[in-house]
Symmetry: C2
Subunit: 208 residues, 2 copies
């Protein structure tokens, strides 16, 4: 993986950051010298930051430090690569892997630890797709299905859809502010302290 | 102003949405047939969504439905236009215009009402600047100065900088989720109902 000034648009979607072992085949454990993880991270950056039509396998290959033919070997076409990386399901698996009674804290810890483990933010890239009406709308659609709708189904009590949207907002906002203030107070705080401050609000929306 | 699929990257930075009258000269009241407001909105979109070097006055003019020479007349050079629109101060004036004891609710209502009044989100455009190391970093710097640092100075109690960062995150997250779910439950809720659900978390961080 090549150097990159900021890494907000990337994540591996893997669960390893929270110490729960390897997940859906895109984390470092799945890389194992194949360059697969580096390709996925470069592809997520590229598709999040540029219009679909402008993204090239050659550009992704250069960013990942591999050959374009290796991308084709692992993923097939640009369309297939896009479909692979436009997937929040591994992130959702990890985020929602806690009982409702403690989900708020688990959500904050998972987001912060995933970011600290250099895997990047598990959700934030969807925000970069806003304001564009091209293929990136698929990324938003996937987010709504795989994150918001799934969370809506998990919640009990009144207005689960509205609460799920607001919970998603709080998670995106946490990632956004940590990325916006890379040398700020939040960057110096432990995940546990961030959870102490931020999780009660999430838990309130989870509990309903 | 031309049609645009989504409007998340735009706002006028004006205070009129909350019914407090015209603000810093970029709202509809300041437009008065001059096209100034349309230019500002088009420029915010352009600078938020594309690398600085790729933005042209001609492109902004086309989006705003005016001539490039009108932009030069009102704003001067591209650099001067960027400096004008990379300004969160009018938004911060409005957002922070409430006593600390009721600031949480005021923040939510201001964000939602500004969005509903078709002026767009007062803060969200800064998120589109993430992941880029070009001139858009100025937008982030302005946000930190004009929003986060100003809020830090307003807060009393422990860890004001950390709480200000997390409050900024919650506001950005609110805008992000409303933009991500344009037909969702949040889009159907009244500003007051959204404040009922979302403001207690903000108020908790404000109060410390």
């Amino acid at each position: 993986m090549t150097g990159h000034a900021t890494d907000e648009a990337t994540d591996t979607g893997a669960a390893t950051a929270a110490g729960t072992g390897p997940a859906a085949g895109t984390g470092p454990a799945a890389d194992a010298g194949t360059g697969r993880g580096a390709i996925v991270r470069a592809a997520r950056r590229a598709f999040a930051l540029r219009p679909y039509a402008e993204v090239t396998l050659r550009g992704i290959a250069a960013d990942a430090g591999v050959s374009a033919s290796l991308i084709v070997k692992h993923f097939g076409s640009k369309e297939q690569l896009f479909n692979t990386v436009a997937d929040f399901e591994p992130a959702a698996d990890e985020l929602f892997a806690a009982p409702l009674g403690t989900l708020g804290r688990h959500l904050v810890l998972t987001v912060v630890r995933s970011r600290r483990a250099q895997q990047g933010d598990p959700l934030l890239r969807v925000v970069f797709s806003l304001g564009n009406s091209d293929e990136r709308s698929l990324l938003r659609e996937r987010f709504r299905e795989q994150v918001t709708s799934r969370l809506t189904a998990l919640l009990t009590g009144p207005e689960p859809a509205l609460r799920a949207e607001l919970i998603a907002g709080q998670l995106l906002g946490l990632g956004a502010t940590l990325s916006l203030h890379p040398s700020g107070a939040g960057s110096l705080a432990t995940p546990e302290h961030l959870a102490d401050l931020y999780a009660p609000a999430l838990q309130r929306l989870v509990t309903g």
